[in-house]
Symmetry: C2
Subunit: 439 residues, 2 copies
């Protein structure tokens, strides 16, 4: 049990209780009044989180709490902090917004000047009132982590929560996510959510929501619009240009964060975006081959093998790196090769050993744009002979996530190859369109 849970037990506190807490700060005493929030599952659990009446959360370190007094007990069974059901408007579609943390849900710490993940999904929703005109919004704080800390296990939780909401009748789900690893998560849910026929829209923000230049409001508005559209896939909705004109909806397996800070950082790679989404409401589909909304129940296929690595090849790379993955019992490795999908010839024997020992080795290209082809040069042919699976025009990041998912299903080399080369969620395009380069 974490400190915070022990403290709550000792003091008889429940989630949703209205409390008054007095905190020591040197000689001073500070009083906070608000609702007891669930401790973030990923925090060390050394603080009690209280939602103040101004909407902000404050975390008080347990050892600094001088006294705590319950003003009003939460009604039993009420998950106050997790879910706020607002009065539903007749005729509007229903959209659940899952909060996971990240910049779209962050604020500046005015003491240090650094940005912390801090807003709850509820606060976020309240900060952008426009979305309540588009849909009946059910916000839910799933976790509150910076996206660089995202892990396969969290992908599973997101997938299950999204499926639960959709199968309970929601028309779409929006997942607010930090941008660092947003594309990896979108790829993961693209594979995990089977028979998906409703929109699951990932959205993030490149500037925190309390800055004047923030993109979070428009991104959130467009993501809710896309979540109510005639569309049934996982997509990423982010700024299409640097100005507040429109957002682009990218297929969850074909997009990438291509810039550290620009608002239009997310780009479709080797593929045309699915749609242009205008904040006022128009959704301009840019292609015809997308799945439309349907009535099937979605189910979650979340079997994942976590022992998968990604290795970018560089001149002078040592084969001991390949050996490392084999010796540590990794089940799969995605290589970011050079050009059409090459490695130095002197590491091919180590790759051969890896496949002989049953490790699945997949080839992608560090060029990012274009398609792997191991039939053109002799090095490629040697790699094919060594058992390497050429991943067509799949992004390295998508291939990495997919290989985890595939290896969660089978260990058989033939089946792994077959599944890696099967197009499950638009991750492989049959040919590369000329007009998708550097867009």
């Amino acid at each position: 049990m974490r400190k915070v849970e022990a403290f709550m037990k000792e003091k008889g506190l429940s989630l949703g209780d209205r409390v008054s807490v007095v905190k020591r700060e040197g000689d001073r005493r500070i009083r906070y009044e608000g609702i007891v929030m669930p401790p973030y599952e990923l925090s060390p659990g050394e603080t009690l989180t209280i939602k103040l009446d101004n909407g902000y959360n404050v975390g008080v370190r347990i050892e600094l709490i001088e006294s705590v007094e319950v003003i009003e007990k939460a009604r039993p069974g009420e998950e106050v902090a997790f879910k706020e059901v607002l009065p539903r408007k007749e005729g509007l579609p229903g959209v659940t917004i899952l909060g996971t943390g990240g910049t779209i849900a962050s604020k500046i710490d005015y003491k240090t000047g650094a940005v912390h993940a801090a807003f709850t999904a509820e606060e976020l929703a309240r900060a952008v009132p426009e979305i309540f005109e588009i849909a009946n919004i059910t916000p839910k704080l799933l976790m509150n982590i910076m996206s660089e800390d995202m892990k396969p296990d969290y992908w599973k939780r997101m997938a299950h929560e999204a499926a639960k909401a959709l199968n309970a009748g929601e028309d779409g789900v929006v997942i607010a996510h930090g941008t660092d690893t947003l594309a990896y998560s979108a790829a993961a849910l693209s594979f995990m959510l089977r028979d998906l026929e409703k929109p699951v829209i990932f959205v993030g923000s490149q500037r925190s929501s309390d800055r004047p230049s923030s993109d979070s409001a428009m991104n959130l508005i467009c993501s809710v619009r896309m979540a109510t559209a005639d569309f049934g896939e996982v997509a990423i909705v982010m700024h299409g240009e640097t100005s507040d004109t429109y957002c682009l909806a990218h297929r969850g397996t074909k997009a990438r964060k291509m810039h550290t800070s620009r608002r239009d950082a997310f780009r479709s790679i080797n593929d045309v975006p699915i749609a242009r989404v205008w904040p006022k409401g128009e959704i301009e589909f840019l292609r015809k081959d997308y799945r439309k909304r349907g009535e099937r129940e979605v189910w979650v296929d979340d079997r994942m093998e976590p022992r998968v690595g990604l290795l970018k090849v560089v001149p002078g790379i040592s084969s001991e790196l390949i050996d490392f993955f084999v010796d540590r019992g990794y089940r799969g490795l995605v290589i970011e090769g050079t050009g059409l999908g090459h490695t130095p010839n002197d590491i091919i024997p180590a790759i051969e050993r890896a496949t002989e020992e049953g490790m699945a080795v997949c080839m992608t290209s560090q060029c990012l744009y274009g398609r792997v082809n191991l039939n053109v040069y002799s090095t490629g042919r040697r790699l094919l002979k060594a058992g390497v699976i050429p991943c067509e025009d799949m992004l390295p990041e998508t291939a990495y996530v997919k290989l985890m998912w595939v290896l969660g299903h089978t260990d058989d080399p033939k089946e792994v190859r077959e599944m890696m080369l099967t197009n499950y969620a638009g991750e492989i395009t049959p040919y590369t369109r000329f007009d998708t380069y550097l867009r």
Copy 2:
């Protein structure tokens, strides 16, 4: 001694001898007449290479040679195969073309359909007669490897050969290089060639030179033009568009192969190209801050620490990968972090241990475009505290090469940091221009 050298000794053959060789092929006997070429240094040395009169090289396996007869001995001291001095035209500048292998110097094996590195620099030069109108060309075959096999030691050889040619009076050097790792080599020579005041131009080809769609002729012509320009840096000259309009000259530290197969695969990242080079002769400089031609002698600073790694961070990455680099005695590691330069928080302790044990850890971004900034989020601040060096807007590939070079000079953490953040060859721009994204 390799088989070929033993054979040549036994038969009294010298490089440059004109010979007649009879080869067994089953029941048949095939006779080749031509000049004995130097065996490629990197080949297993089991074939005798003969340059036929049609310009092609043929490799004959030693054990299949039935007889060999010397028709004409090479004159002593004449490096026939390495260097063909053509009659020099008065008034033309001098350009040495160094051949290293790769597609610009490759041909299809009509038996297997695969492409092999095969043309010599001489053949290459002869295949594009236009360049002899631009300059007095001295071709020199330095090595013949596919660029995926490039290593730091070969960068040194290229640097020394380029410096030798320039200090001997050449006006420029062109290095024909396979495209897979061309950008890494260009970055390496950018750091190694100190006080460079003449052009050193890397050129490659995305389609082999015997295909109708080949880009090698125009690229070679433009590279020779750039090698004679009023310019004194390392640059990459490749197609600017897919059609044969113009080439772009990119700064050697700021470019990247962004597509597996397109002719316009090379792009400047976070920077404006140096010039547009038209095959007919015009060179349109696109910026003012480049080094012009000068008279100083170039010298080679080739101290490199080869024990440097590059690691791309992915969700679910294990800190055992960081430990691996430390435990194997690597001196430096470049991380391709997410977003502004982040890693999962749970691998930061391993990074801290790495820097404590004296390993230099540098941060770049897998976004490729944009600039690392570790001051915005708490994760970044933790990384800074752990001793990570934020590499501004340097490309991960350039940072990798640079870190090898920096660690070849000093082990002192303060000096490493200072050198990594010093702009030696345009690898760091003071601010990121808005118009350099996805161009």
